[in-house]
Symmetry: C2
Subunit: 193 residues, 2 copies
């Protein structure tokens, strides 16, 4: 578990020594959740960021009619939390639940801040990770504003082919903002190709 995280951090900070990594690792706590269990629920105080070692999760909100809107999926190597609540040290308006049995490494925001102030390299790590995160969100907004549902489906298929193998179709439909029936039509198109 720690070997995987070391590899992940060294992709951005190749010079991080084993000793430095061991120090960083002491700030993480392993978390296990079974399929359907929650990592975060609405009204929870959000204090931690999570790195996915194994498994698949979804971040979603509910509208006034109780309809689920999926903002993000998370799989191996991805970070997930409710960042709106985490950064404001507030309560969540979202849910994160497991689509598969999942193993994560969690680190509190206090410990992230501590590591960032103690180690310039770790501040750099999170700074760079946020660049990727920002770009992913920007692309999702462009896609929601500009592309048809079918274009959004094809983009998702191209970017994350493994996601479509692991996630039930009704959740893909919720992420794309279309009905399950509409999604079936795109699928039919894909099968023919």
């Amino acid at each position: 578990m720690s070997l995987l995280l070391k590899k992940h951090i060294r992709e951005i900070i190749p010079a991080l020594s084993d000793q430095e990594f061991e120090y960083v690792m002491r700030h993480f706590v392993p978390v296990k959740r079974q399929k359907h269990q929650f990592l975060i629920q609405a009204d929870d105080e959000v204090k931690s960021n999570y790195w996915v070692v194994k498994g698949c999760l979804k971040l979603y909100c509910l509208d006034d009619d109780g309809k689920e809107h999926i903002l993000q999926f998370a799989m191996e190597n991805w970070w997930v939390s409710d960042y709106i609540a985490l950064y404001s040290r507030g309560k969540s308006e979202f849910y994160i639940s497991c689509i598969e049995d999942s193993e994560l490494l969690s680190i509190t925001m206090d410990n992230i801040d501590k590591l960032c102030s103690e180690m310039h390299a770790m501040e750099h790590f999170w700074n760079v990770k946020k660049r990727f995160g920002y770009v992913a969100l920007q692309k999702r907004i462009v896609s929601l504003l500009k592309n048809s549902a079918e274009e959004r489906y094809n983009q998702l298929l191209e970017q994350y082919p493994q996601l479509l193998q692991r996630v039930p179709k009704k959740m893909i439909a919720s992420y794309l903002g279309v009905s399950r029936e509409t999604l079936s039509r795109f699928n039919a198109g894909q099968d023919v190709m």
Copy 2:
């Protein structure tokens, strides 16, 4: 101009000395653009990030029919660039143009990376700024997925009342993803309230 930026950076790094700030400031270049002029156009190589000293700008893309979709506005104290292109050192698929005559301070990505590696405090500054940016984008996605156009309009009115005074209604409609006519109905509602 530099006094304003010093104040802006010290909101996150209160301990930044005048001498350190002067060093940081040497990496910025003033940029002026008149109303309707472009800061970035599609196919431009994007090398800089911009801080708005004065004025108002819009970041937008065009769809296949040439229709404009506004992703973001930028006013005094906001940072603006095409971050998708900037972080990947690639070409832009977006436009940034001036809604008013605008004065900006620009810094190249190379100089941001240089300052970040030389000064832990500046790495911290951009790390924290990105937290705010990430949260703003996340909120926009939630809003696009979950809220009606009228709810999105009321949110914008609440968050940035000055924006609605400064930006033509057709641009607000483009940002919200509604027609100019639909927006008029929300306005009428507001007038009555």
